[in-house]
Symmetry: C2
Subunit: 179 residues, 2 copies
DNA sequence: ACCAGTCGGTTCGGTGAATGAACTCAAGGT
DNA sequence: ACCTTGAGTTCATTCACCGAACCGACTGGT
């Protein structure tokens, strides 16, 4: 029924993990959410950055809006254009992305880090739970600065990846040179 | 090519989150891993507890073994029977499951908790990152006790769910009345 | 007025994965 | 000899994903 995709939802699973996966467990979904943290807000930016099929992206965005993870809002009339922004509930997914990223990084032993996350106030790199080891406080998302790591392709093809190459705060929208 | 399922892997994603999802991002995979933490080790136990199609379970187990998340080992000859146990790399997925579960629990506002996780040494419920708030140490997985919450069905159909109703340590294998 | 281009989709045919049911094989029990 | 259990495999159907093409509203250029 709901937004869940594959055939049926996780049947009679009595488990909050299964409930979470019904919302964010489909292919591409968590990558869309990740991009939203990085400041991506527009259909076309998700599209070129993820390399996702258009129909799938439209479906995921709609499902995430219905699940209350993203908020869709008009940012201009004529032509009507909407952007997708993380809600409170969406922001609460940050620990999931952190832990997944930490695990994925450890997967490849000799891998060079791709992105670093720092406390903008003091510059220290965040600890495993998104806390600042030197200030000893959990860092609010708006105070997290993302910096490119050495493993990142220095000259990517699409403009979104290029924009994400320079250090930037989380959640700050990508710039779009207005006409 | 590899163990990834859907059509192709996450293309050219330069992202450790995407790398993690290539391993554990498919449908059912994280639920299999969750069950492994709960002490499920055998094909048939996964099968009845998850309600997963047989072919899919076989494929997931094989993929997880190839990815180094599970270890397959013979526990009896004649008839040859194997069990699937979490490796070091698999155990490192615990924070992912914790954070997903925490998010899924918060999804439904009025929901009664389904399972609690306590520090076996002192009885205190674990904090959000699997640490013990009173002992102020990260609790090793073997010292985590899982207790049923009020939201859990008190009389489930399958024997695995029934076995998981009583308080038990993580990773301890389910009992099987040997012949 | 005309044309090209952008943005945010929808439609469509082909492919491949998930599903549930049936079947296999080996061993044990009775 | 027959039934059962565990751990799969095979198979037909269904369904989701994929890529490319198409569409509609607008905008900017000439």
């Amino acid at each position: 029924m709901g937004p869940m995709a594959l055939g049926k939802d996780y049947a009679q699973q009595q488990c909050s993990i299964a409930r979470a996966l019904e919302v964010v467990g489909e292919r591409w979904t968590l990558l869309v959410v990740r991009d939203a943290f990085y400041g991506v807000r527009r259909y076309n930016d998700f599209l070129v950055h993820l390399g996702i099929p258009r129909a799938v992206l439209a479906a995921r965005l709609q499902a995430l809006v219905e699940a209350g993870v993203l908020d869709r809002r008009r940012y201009q009339e004529s032509p009507p254009r909407d952007e997708y922004v993380l809600t409170e509930r969406g922001l609460a997914l940050w620990p999931v992305l952190r832990s997944l990223g930490a695990w994925g990084r450890a997967e490849v032993p000799g891998a060079v880090p791709l992105r670093h996350f720092h406390h903008a106030d003091c510059g220290t790199e965040l600890g495993p739970y998104g806390e600042c080891p030197s200030c000893r406080v959990p860092v609010p998302l708006a105070d997290v600065e993302m910096r490119p790591g050495a493993g990142l392709d220095p000259d990517p093809a699409d403009p979104v990846s290029r924009a994400l190459l320079r250090p930037r705060r989380l959640l700050v929208p990508l710039e779009h040179t207005s006409s």
